[in-house]
Symmetry: C2
Subunit: 203 residues, 2 copies
């Protein structure tokens, strides 16, 4: 599997430290049907992965330094409770965010992927945020902000998808596949937030 760096701090994809997802394969298959995810989408995600592979750094900079950093209500989640920058936390989670772009495009959506989806979700909740980097920051990212930010990610990924000279039709198809994958992942990430006793009131 392609990686954005040889060592990615806290990136535990496929490792035995990652708990089994509480979502079943059957629920995943149903979700794929509900988002309308097809074999064509899968192929166009692979193409998107090729197109984005050498742009992940710029993309994550764009999202995190270019957009989130300018929105105090969002920026605080990568800062200390007093509002100070935590450059090491930002750098480490940025690198995992970069790798996620590749994983979204290039990984098979199998049991290991499903397990890591749950891990990503939990790392935004009070169960796991801040833990893997050993920092003090906000206790969780509210679910509503994750849902909202998907709109930004979907809008801003487009120019990166068209940066390698593919036809408008191919860019459209890559973009459509990307948006479906994001919505599928969002559905999976919502689970701990919506399951009682797990992360109450982190909407």
């Amino acid at each position: 599997m392609k990686r954005v760096a040889e060592y990615i701090h806290g990136y535990t994809y496929g490792s035995p430290d990652v708990a089994k997802s509480q979502v079943s394969q059957r629920e995943l298959e149903d979700l794929k049907v509900s988002v309308g995810f097809t074999d064509e989408d899968q192929r166009y995600l692979l193409l998107a992965g090729e197109v984005l592979a050498d742009q992940t750094r710029r993309i994550v900079e764009h999202w995190r330094s270019g957009i989130i950093a300018g929105i105090p209500n969002l920026a605080r989640h990568s800062r200390s409770p007093e509002g100070d920058a935590l450059p090491d936390y930002l750098a480490k989670s940025n690198l995992r965010f970069e790798q996620w772009i590749l994983d979204t495009c290039l990984r098979p959506y199998d049991q290991e992927w499903l397990n890591y989806q749950q891990e990503i979700a939990l790392r935004h909740t009070s169960q796991k945020k801040n833990k893997v980097d050993g920092v003090q920051s906000t206790p969780f990212v509210p679910l509503r902000d994750i849902i909202a930010f998907v709109a930004v990610i979907n809008e801003t990924i487009r120019p990166y998808l068209s940066a390698k000279g593919h036809s408008a039709e191919d860019v459209d198809k890559m973009h459509r596949a990307w948006c479906k994958s994001l919505q599928l992942q969002l559905a999976l990430w919502a689970r701990p937030y919506a399951t009682s006793g797990q992360t109450p009131n982190e909407w």
Copy 2:
């Protein structure tokens, strides 16, 4: 305000029967910032409203009869617990769904709109599903299916946005504004699902 029919059963937008939203105006403003919703988006939603106004019936047919009806895991939510069709339930909720397209495009996103967002959300949960039409059907629509289906709605709305001969650029801008609004609404709808004690385990 433009309506899809003179009488829309169960459509209580703006009426005193609709409870005040538990989301504050401040939280709404923050969410608009997080999805990147601009004045330009607002203008293009108005244009989308003009474009879609005489197509709402075909669009909702497309979504509900053309897509959801073919996915048993989704279709069951408009059927009886035994799986029988409930044509009256379908027709009535279809009409409200049509009106929602206009509301999405043409209404100001003010307190009344916020209140009705909560009402729409609750009507998908065990708190309010089936009530306004007095039917027996599944107790709730899982949050994950709503999140997933947004991808389908966003993909399939496009041809309807371009059906009136607007330039590709205008269609793009209408579509972008639409997708942001949907993600904003989805964030609002997630609240009862993610708030403890309200609708436990309806993920």
